[in-house]
Symmetry: C2
Subunit: 490 residues, 2 copies
């Protein structure tokens, strides 16, 4: 499954297509792995006191997660198969199996995807990018920060990192690189080879900073609540991330500038180009103004939920209604937003399966068993080791969602069993779930877009990702922990 999907652009593919015969064999092998995982659970006799239907639910859940990782089919399809299996084999009643699709948090994400469409359609996203570039884009590092700033502003509402980083920031970055005659090949190092990894690495940090940073953060928040009861609201997520996030954004770009410098250091033409583009766009027209208004009001209401208590999803739906009523979005735009429907299906299915699994008491039993594993450990040792394993396991995942769905809850349970403070465990795992996407060129949806622009080799991409992971982890577990202590969260 993907954290998001561009709905109308074709992504540059980083994969090679193997010959059909071997592809079919690969496909069968993948399905075999998925089925084997599910059957392995079925074959184990359920522990005493666990209903057969609960055990079947676990088997299907395991199969679904393994399917999300090995991907014999698109993630959404795998989850739909899982939901169907849950209903077909009576692990849950059909109504219960489908209940995730009525979960307000799922509708929050759906609505936010429609809001992203409005940002792209009205050109507001591009305008914000050009305003930043015009202001601070005179030098190449400043130019990078201009686009990072745009990404951060947009992430406050747009949970589709594909639409945001890939759909809005990437085209601007690419056209600026090309304006400096920097294209894949010998001229790559002029500018593009610097910008592409930089903006991806920064996006990963930004993903971690907002509940809306990427689509599966809300899923992580659900998991956290199911295990610990701690509610990662929009405001709390942001408050916890703001200090370590800003420090990361201050440290990582200069580091990359040092490790992987562009030949062109001064980029007056970028600022000039932004000025020109803004001139061409002219003043804001009514639809764009309305979009800005909705964007601002929705973000403000999300940040202040504690004061007014209006449900997140209702806020987002009201935003969509305003956009529809004013004609900024057409109904057809909503229906054609395939990425939104993709997320809707996988997210609604996973949320419900995980929730139902919690209700069976299996998670609690697992926690009890896990307590033995870390018995006698200091909690900080358990926390440290497990965070590292969790982080670098992302080499094996092509999506934050798949990774978090498979590992967030069990790791959280084990860390808690070792006696770690709940907030510390919940938050560090949540943020690192995003930061670990730095490692590869397939770590989260926009990765293949930035990498696929072909400015750097895979070797460079991976080397930079690995290097960046070190300061990121250090910043979030030192400054982050200190900040949460200061906030009195542990």
């Amino acid at each position: 499954m993907e954290e998001s999907r561009l709905s109308s652009t074709t992504l540059p593919s980083a994969e090679e297509t193997p010959p059909p015969g071997s592809r079919r064999f690969g496909l069968i092998a993948k399905w075999a792995v998925v089925l084997a995982a599910a059957f392995a659970v079925v074959l184990i006799p359920p522990p005493e006191g666990v209903a057969a239907s609960s055990w079947r639910l676990l088997a299907i859940f395991v199969g679904t997660i393994v399917g999300s990782i090995v991907r014999p089919a698109p993630g959404g399809a795998v989850v739909l198969l899982g939901v169907t299996a849950v209903a077909l084999f009576g692990a849950l009643s059909p109504t219960e199996a489908l209940r995730g699709y009525a979960d307000p948090i799922v509708w929050l994400v759906l609505a936010a995807f429609f809001i992203s469409r409005g940002m792209i359609k009205t050109g507001l996203g591009r305008r914000i990018a050009f305003l930043f570039v015009r202001a601070i884009g005179h030098r190449s590092l400043g130019l990078g920060y201009a686009l990072i700033g745009t990404d951060m502003v947009l992430a406050s509402v747009i949970p589709s990192n594909g639409a945001r980083s890939g759909g809005i920031i990437f085209p601007v970055a690419k056209s600026i690189a090309e304006a400096y005659d920097s294209r894949p090949g010998p001229t790559a190092t002029r500018l593009g080879a610097f910008l592409m990894p930089l903006l991806y690495q920064a996006d990963v940090i930004i993903c971690a900073m907002f509940l809306t940073g990427q689509a599966s953060n809300v899923l992580i928040a659900k998991f956290a609540q199911q295990v610990t009861g701690i509610e990662l609201t929009y405001g709390r997520w942001l408050l916890g991330a703001i200090v370590p996030g800003l420090v990361s954004l201050l440290v990582v770009p200069p580091l990359l500038y040092h490790l992987n410098p562009p030949e062109i250091k001064h980029t007056p033409a970028a600022a000039e180009m932004a000025r020109e583009e803004l001139r061409r766009m002219g003043p804001m027209r009514l639809p764009e103004l309305l979009m800005l208004l909705v964007f601002g009001v929705v973000a403000a209401l999300w940040m202040t939920t504690a004061f007014h208590g209006i449900n997140y999803a209702v806020v987002a739906l009201v935003g969509i209604c305003v956009l529809l009523l004013s004609g900024v979005l057409e109904w057809e735009d909503v229906l054609a937003e395939r990425g939104a429907w993709d997320v809707f299906i996988w997210y609604g299915g996973l949320v419900r399966m995980a929730e139902a699994l919690g209700e069976t008491g299996l998670t609690k039993r697992f926690a009890e068993a896990a307590a033995g594993f870390t018995a006698g450990w200091q909690w900080w040792a358990a926390l440290g080791l497990l965070l590292l394993i969790y982080f670098y396991a992302h080499y094996a995942f092509a999506s934050i969602t798949a990774h978090a769905t498979a590992m967030y809850t069990p790791f959280l349970v084990v860390i808690l069993a070792a006696g770690a403070p709940a907030h510390l465990a919940v938050l560090s795992l949540a943020y690192l779930s995003n930061l670990d996407a730095s490692l590869t060129h397939y770590g989260t949806t926009p990765a293949p877009i930035w990498f696929g622009a072909n400015y750097v080799t895979q070797r460079t991409w991976w080397r930079l990702g690995l290097i960046v992971s070190v300061p990121n982890i250090l910043i979030w577990i030192t400054i982050g922990f200190a900040w949460w202590k200061l906030l009195g969260w542990w």
Copy 2:
């Protein structure tokens, strides 16, 4: 809202576009009507014992229905606004307001739309049409019946009458008419002017025959269950309709052949063309065979629910899973099926609002009040009069859904209050909800497609529709009533 929507074809539009100024004025006027309807309810003080939140729900429901009728925005958008208003104004909690989207019956419809996509994609729908035409398409009336037969076979699974009648039958009919040099204008009466109204009128009868005849039949079944507890299963719907439906299909086509004869009576070229097309298609390939298998198994399982008890939605979802696993459908096909998402939004919203309204007890109170209105009437007089009003009210509706949502429940309640047998009232209103679409060129989704082919004038279309309504009503209330008596249903 639309009973269905073609997802990739552009429909010939039967509407004229007024100048922008008057359009904006018209739009404001329409919204004013919607708001006035909702506020009218708000201004009436709620009857004693009715919670303020229930009364607000009624106001929003009334606004949504009026919106579905006057259509200031597409039907799906109107319902989404309604759902948002329900949550925003606290008529229901957000989770409760969204609960329709987890209703298995809503997922049944969603899945059935995806199945339709497979029918079109694999060419199975066209093949069935050509097989019928080759067998009995040698004379123009037989040709009509060939396409009517196809429509009926497909209606057993495809609830999108737009995709079925408009997307599969219409293109075949049009190409046959053109093969006989019958085009809009002087040559229309050669063949096309006969085929177009015929196939639309027959489709309307077919819509009435299956729970899957068109998308809002499941909505009607929900309403019926909420008021009377009678469950209109797939099998029961079909059993009740099969006798009057077949009689209607035996009577109406010859009647139209008599009233509106084609100049060309013999159509050997149609059969020849079908033979040629079938030759060109070659034998069935694996995807089409799989599609046929899924189609057959799903229909068979739906008809036999009473014996195995597998939920309809689960059957349909398993069908989709098979199509996805076998590669007949790609995940992308599912995501891009905009018509399905449209129906999902309006249907899930309406089902829930109507259900919640039932839970408030307002429907029951209305029934008590209505009992006074028909006090002293014979039940058959009340039934007859109200059925006629219900039927011809469809002149004012551009969609079966809008009509049924606005009128089905109140009319049912009033008829029951007069003492009519429950089954009789439930079934006759359900079937007539479909049959009344015969009247106009906008009565249900495929109407503008068939009419828009431009073979007959609006005057002719309406005249034929009005004439056909007479035998249809007579057949269903005489033979239909007798048949249901024979079945012991009243």
